[in-house]
């Protein structure tokens, strides 16, 4: 193995001079090319969390129902009868920005592997996507590719996609976000951890063969080593093969059910390097890998390429020597690859061999835990650091005609409903199989959270994924608290109580003061709200350096929650159900235009949000949850993007019934007619049902304001000089306008 070229290959691989010196110190010599490639990946932000690990220690991770927490492939919570629900959300932002179809597809593939690596059968996918504004050709291309990619992988592998969200904001123009969440179900006694154990045990690589795809960070080294510029042109985005994954999935679940594996880990970022090192680190052992035993797609691959390849659909298992033959037989049944590529050792080293020759040898501790952790240098920026553009008149003209008055509240409502971030996402979710598996009791858009039956444990779960980057940009602390509260509210609308939370922190460059401040405040908000709600954070992922030429993305913490409800049938709809039902607003909703969709359309966004009252929102959630479970309310919908007027319109569109509403009681809380109509904030539930039953929900710390009743063919809202009447059919047309605009892209 030749030494790295004379210039500073470590810098080109993203290591600082100080980090390189530390590596030399830990090895007692300079690393060779294989070792440098491996260190550069494991000491990257992606693997080492070097700018975020200290912050993440603030998060509460313990809870009575936690079966597995952070550090495993995914988190898991107890759902009774010996079963656990495993879940995790992860980002695939940069690959999706380069090649949206494969980037998003392999994002789904990766998160599925994280879940079945625990021994859990994946039962649901959710996704959270961010793009630039829809009038940008680039954004439409990314949207189309990402949606097709997510559909391609999930549909082909037979895991339903049950929910998600999509926002369109200019700061994501050059750096879209693709976060995918997977939920799985496992028998607790068949679950495995990722820690390697048992000196002398075999290390078996299963699944696809290893190629040069996805050699990203190391491509520079590849050129330097081979002296061949061609390698720089190789695609660095991985290519997904859902058929291979479906075979590997069934194969792994059969191996685990037969008790043939000691431990299991998926191969994700940094491929074999990170999987082998992290398994060894978790088990406090060493590991020896012979790259000559790795099944290859291309015969002439260098050892470092084999160690860092990010070829998809691969799993690494530790197996007792006497059971390797049985493992290989199961892999053959499923027509997927398998090879014993190494052994577990007691020397605390990651040793890489090619045939008999040692080509790399590093202490596990240095690789996995040796990377220095950095303190951020946060500084609060002055005011609003993102752009503002007034597009309200243009949007009103597009949806209500060129003669419409942009100041008319009915036109404003139509403009908000047609705003791509608020509009129905049916165009996207109809491209996903949402029902395979026969568990989906509430499909996308029929309720605020997806509801899945868990007949194994005679129970049900509700799942939701939320995050509004614009509001986090206005106030990273309050915005993050709101994301968790909104997720909790969505679960409450389905009658579910949170069991655990997973998160993906999508932020800009943490080495810059403003993104560092955003990250610091957001993590503190996440920690505080989870602590206050008693919801443990069981896993997560951090994606930093999300920036375009014009600066960082909106800070975007995405939270996914799993909640439990006694039976899937109990979950109520979000739309109105019966003509004549009373409508009420429950909870501590204090609408404000700050950070709202309306202020965005007006180009008047500014820093600052009200601080949410967590305890009051929690009390409202408990009241709604109890009422849904007891069948006391017919529908429940949380008041979110676009405010109460949009929530009313959505409940009307979903049912076909109009409503007559007076916001007088809400205005008595001190808000203007416009704030009452379009103001946003957490804590509001729009509920419908029998008047007496709704009013009986008012109690200690829970306010219920009567609003009006269901009926007619229009959404009629009395709000002083801003009163509005919009026919349900017009509202529906505006709300379903995304499909036409997204379809116009098909080139």
């Amino acid at each position: 193995m030749s030494a790295p070229a004379a210039s500073s290959p470590h810098r080109e691989l993203g290591l600082t001079d100080a980090e390189y010196e530390l590596i030399c110190e830990k090895l007692g010599r300079e690393p060779n090319g294989v070792e440098l490639a491996m260190f550069s990946l494991l000491w990257s932000e992606h693997c080492a969390y070097k700018h975020s690990r200290k912050l993440l220690r603030r998060l509460p991770t313990e809870g009575e129902r936690v079966v597995m927490g952070p550090g495993e492939n995914a988190g898991a919570v107890d759902v009774g009868e010996g079963y656990a629900v495993a879940f995790k959300v992860e980002s695939h932002n940069h690959p999706s920005a380069v090649e949206p179809f494969q980037g998003a597809a392999t994002g789904v593939g990766g998160i599925l592997r994280d879940v079945f690596a625990l021994g859990a059968r994946p039962i649901a996918i959710l996704d959270s996507l961010r793009f630039g504004e829809l009038d940008s050709v680039r954004s439409r291309h990314l949207l189309d590719g990402a949606v097709r990619g997510i559909g391609h992988y999930g549909n082909s592998i037979g895991v339903p996609n049950v929910g998600g969200e999509i926002y369109f904001e200019a700061p994501y123009e050059h750096n879209c976000l693709v976060n995918a969440m997977c939920v799985g179900i496992a028998k607790q006694d068949e679950m495995v951890r990722a820690a390697a154990a048992g000196v002398g045990n075999a290390v078996v690589l299963m699944g696809a063969s290893t190629g040069r795809d996805g050699i990203g960070g190391a491509s520079v080294l590849a050129s330097a080593e081979l002296g061949d510029g061609d390698d720089a042109k190789r695609p660095t985005v991985q290519i997904g093969d859902p058929f291979e994954e479906s075979k590997v999935l069934e194969c792994c679940l059969e191996l685990l059910a037969k008790g043939l594996l000691v431990s299991l880990q998926d191969l994700g970022a940094a491929g074999l390097t990170s999987s082998a090192s992290e398994m060894a680190s978790a088990g406090g052992v060493g590991i020896e890998i012979d790259v000559a035993q790795v099944p290859l797609r291309e015969a002439d691959m260098e050892p470092f390429e084999i160690m860092v390849s990010e070829s998809q659909e691969r799993m690494l298992a530790v197996v007792e020597p006497g059971r390797v033959a049985e493992v290989i037989a199961v892999c053959e049944k499923w027509q997927t690859g398998s090879a014993q590529i190494g052994t577990v050792t007691d020397n605390g080293l990651v040793r890489v061999l090619r045939g008999g020759e040692v080509v790399g040898e590093m202490p596990v501790e240095a690789l996995v835990d040796g990377c220095p952790l950095y303190d951020l240098a946060p500084a609060e920026p002055e005011g609003w650091i993102y752009g503002n553009e007034d597009v309200l008149a243009e949007r009103v003209a597009a949806v209500a005609g060129p003669d419409a008055d942009a100041a008319d509240p009915a036109s404003t409502l139509l403009a908000l409903l047609s705003s791509p971030s608020v509009a129905s996402k049916r165009w996207a979710f109809e491209q996903y199989d949402s029902i395979v598996g026969s568990r989906t009791a509430r499909r996308p858009e029929s309720a605020d959270a997806a509801v899945l039956a868990i007949p194994e444990a005679d129970t049900a779960i509700a799942v939701s994924i939320d995050g509004n980057g614009r509001r986090v940009a206005c106030d990273p602390y309050a915005g993050t608290v709101e994301a968790v509260l909104e997720c909790t509210q969505n679960l409450a609308c389905a009658g579910a109580e949170p069991l655990g939370l997973t998160n993906c922190l999508n932020f800009g460059n943490p080495e810059k003061p403003a993104p560092a401040w955003q990250l610091d405040r957001a993590v503190q908000g996440l920690a505080d709200v989870c602590e206050a709600l008693g919801v443990p954070v069981v896993g997560g992922n951090v994606s930093l350096y999300n920036e375009g030429p014009e600066g960082p993305i909106y800070p975007t913490p995405v939270v996914g929650m799993v909640g439990e409800l006694p039976s899937p049938e109990l979950a109520g709809p979000s739309a109105f159900v019966r003509e004549g039902d009373a409508i009420a607003l429950l909870g501590p909703f204090e609408p404000s235009l700050a950070g709202s969709e309306l202020m965005k359309l007006r180009g008047e966004l500014d820093a600052g949000l009200a601080q949410p009252d967590i305890a009051a929102v929690a009390a409202a959630c408990a009241a709604v949850r109890g009422a849904v479970r007891a069948g006391k309310i017919a529908s429940a919908h949380d008041v979110s993007d676009g405010g109460l007027a949009c929530a009313l319109a959505e409940a009307a569109i979903g049912s076909g019934f109009g409503c007559q509403v007076d916001l007088q009681h809400l205005r008595e809380r001190g808000c203007s007619p416009e704030e009452a109509l379009f103001g946003e904030g957490v804590g509001g539930f729009l509920i419908s049902g029998e008047r007496e039953k709704l009013e009986a929900l008012a109690g200690e710390g829970v306010a219920v304001l009567p609003l009006g009743k269901v009926g007619g063919a229009a959404v009629e809202v009395a709000a002083g000089d801003r009163s509005l009447t919009v026919p349900v059919a017009d509202a529906e047309r505006a709300w379903h306008s995304l499909s036409g605009r997204a379809e116009s892209i098909a080139v």
């Binding site: 592998i157 093969d241 859902p242 058929f243 075979k247 027509q335 491209q431 029902i435 026969s438 499909r443």
Partner: protein
């Protein structure tokens, strides 16, 4: 009554089909794609999914599997066979059903609840047809290659012989299928294929029970 549900690598809805057979009061078991023996099954489901990945053309590889050879013999002997989605594609590729399934006309996968109108000749119990022509069933469709196609002459012929089993209700054709055809049967009536998924319409909890009748009707479809 024992149902056999064929399982290929890449099948997705085989457990749902098993569940549906059981809910309709029968026993059911999986038949691995390498099995040449249907194990005494009285009726067979070829389920939905992406058999062998379906990277070439939906169903094009599955038709060569040992299990499908056995299914073809079983069908030729009059055994009831129900092909759903990918199973329908496989049965068309195998030549057990007329026509072909092409990419949806908008070139996108679609997952949507649709109304199906029963058509043609259904098996009967005594004088009572198990599914009445004109009956509407609410059943979900989910596929990327579901556009039914056949030459005009063949379409005329299968319509004349009562082989069109289901059509999409007016305005609900999700994929551009010729003459709104959602499902067809063979001339003898013992082999039925349809794109929508009756196995996902067997429980009110997940949206509809209208699919149960399709399983019941096919259980009695021995030619």
């Amino acid at each position: 009554m024992l149902w056999g549900v064929v399982q290929f690598p890449g099948s997705c809805d085989e457990r749902d089909a098993l569940h549906a057979c059981e809910l309709s009061g029968d026993e059911a078991r999986l038949i691995w794609h390498e099995e040449r023996d249907l194990g005494g099954a009285d009726a067979v489901v070829v389920p939905g999914g992406f058999s062998y990945g379906d990277y070439l053309r939906a169903g094009a590889i599955a038709r060569f599997s040992p299990a499908m050879e056995a299914v073809a013999e079983f069908a030729a002997a009059g055994g009831p066979v129900l092909g759903i989605c990918n199973g329908f594609q496989v049965l068309c590729e195998t030549g057990l059903l007329p026509g072909a399934l092409l990419l949806n006309d908008n070139l996108r996968f679609v997952c949507r609840q649709v109304d199906l109108l029963a058509d043609g000749l259904w098996p009967s119990q005594g004088a009572q047809s198990l599914i009445e022509p004109g009956e509407t069933l609410s059943i979900p469709a989910k596929h990327g290659e579901g556009r039914y196609w056949a030459p005009e002459g063949m379409l005329d012929a299968i319509e004349a012989k009562g082989q069109v089993a289901f059509r999409y209700a007016a305005g609900q054709n999700p994929n551009g299928s010729a003459r709104d055809i959602a499902g067809v049967r063979n001339e003898a009536g013992n082999v039925l294929g349809l794109m929508p998924h009756p196995e996902h319409a067997v429980d009110a909890m997940t949206g509809s029970t209208d699919g149960l009748g399709v399983f019941e009707a096919m259980a009695g479809a021995r030619a």
